[in-house]
């Protein structure tokens, strides 16, 4: 029997809706709010982007003849005395972990229906995020102005160091910045009582994004700064 593209079998919907119903088969695969499933799938795609960056970094670092600059020395900071290795990066790591903790508290308070505490904790999280971006801006300024690091060259060693650094930390910093905006927006809506009827899943979904930003930093810290 020849295939008939115009066939309209039982329960066939026209157009895009037809695609969705045919693929869905009238079944729900993930028994979570759709927003949460979509956020997870977005984070999965973001995982691939960051993995490609880190794999690219591994490849250029492995393939250069020129010695790779020692991050422990490049990111050392002196407070009057001897330079302390990686100190700013360590502080940034602790700030991001602290913000992940306050975010987890916010999700918990959201499901308890405590509007004021939820919004406050989300705004505290956003403030920590802003602090992180501020320190990153300081780090970039120091590297560009004082150390003369450029995407195509630097005085410390392999020229690829600059492009990798700016690309990876820049993309992560953009994620933190977007997260701060996202958190502040949702916190304001929580405070206004927008989710009293709809439920507080949105706080958990926002939290997923924020924890992911922290998660990516764990890998950047290990592979770029410590390796």
């Amino acid at each position: 029997m020849a295939y008939d593209a115009t066939a309209t079998g039982p329960g066939h919907d026209p157009g895009l809706r037809g695609i969705a119903t045919d693929w869905g088969g009238d079944r729900q695969a993930f028994h979570v709010p759709w927003g949460k499933a979509m956020m997870w799938i977005f984070l999965l795609s973001d995982t691939f982007i960051f993995s490609c960056f880190l794999t690219g970094y591994m490849n250029v670092r492995a393939s250069t003849r020129v010695p790779w600059p020692n991050p422990s020395e490049v990111f050392a900071l002196s407070f009057g005395g001897e330079p302390i290795p990686l100190i700013l990066i360590a502080i940034m790591t602790f700030i991001l972990i602290t913000s992940s903790g306050t975010m987890a508290m916010a999700v918990n308070m959201g499901y308890r229906g405590d509007r004021a505490k939820t919004a406050a904790l989300m705004l505290i999280t956003a403030a920590f995020g802003a602090m992180f971006v501020g320190m990153q801006a300081f780090e970039w300024t120091k590297l560009i102005i004082d150390e003369g690091v450029r995407p195509w060259s630097n005085p410390m060693g392999a020229p690829q160091f600059g492009s990798v650094f700016f690309m990876i930390t820049g993309f992560h910093g953009a994620h933190v910045t977007l997260g701060v905006i996202y958190l502040t927006t949702v916190a304001m809506k929580v405070l206004r009582g927008d989710y009293e009827k709809r439920g507080y899943e949105i706080v958990e979904i926002t939290g997923l994004y924020w924890h992911f930003v922290d998660l990516v930093w764990v890998f950047i810290f290990a592979f770029f700064y410590l390796w």
Binding site: F30, V32, I41, S51, S63, L86, I97, E201, A222
Partner: protein, 115 residues
């Protein structure tokens, strides 16, 4: 009803424990640099603390350990293929550096002058 399934409501204590643990693990990974470990010990410790931190964040903070298997496998499964990419790029990087050393030699002083 379905409330119990979709609401990720857990005792606060577990978040505080994981929060503390993440601080401790971060301190450890920072100490790897401070103590000056080198070679395989350094890389092994960095990876160990990294995977522990990542695991705790995903499992508890992102509530993955309380989700259904269907969602867990759909999200955790696909990134495993990245291991193939990482493996291929490691081999390729190795080949590139050998080729470069072969054709350009080990002298890299030219890079010190171009700024």
């Amino acid at each position: 009803m379905a409330q119990d399934d979709t609401h990720q409501q857990h005792p606060l204590a577990i978040y505080f424990w994981i929060w503390g643990l993440l601080f401790v693990l971060s301190t450890f990974s920072y100490l790897v640099d401070i103590m000056g470990f080198e070679g395989y010990v350094r890389w092994g410790l960095i990876l160990l603390f990294m995977f522990l931190k990542a695991g705790f964040i995903i499992a508890v903070f992102m509530h993955m350990m309380w989700e259904r298997m269907a969602l867990i496998y759909a999200i955790i499964g696909p990134p495993i293929v990245l291991l193939v990419l990482i493996g291929l790029m490691a081999v390729e990087g190795n080949y590139t550096v050998l080729t470069r050393l072969n054709f350009f030699g080990a002298d890299t002083s030219e890079f010190a002058e171009h700024h």
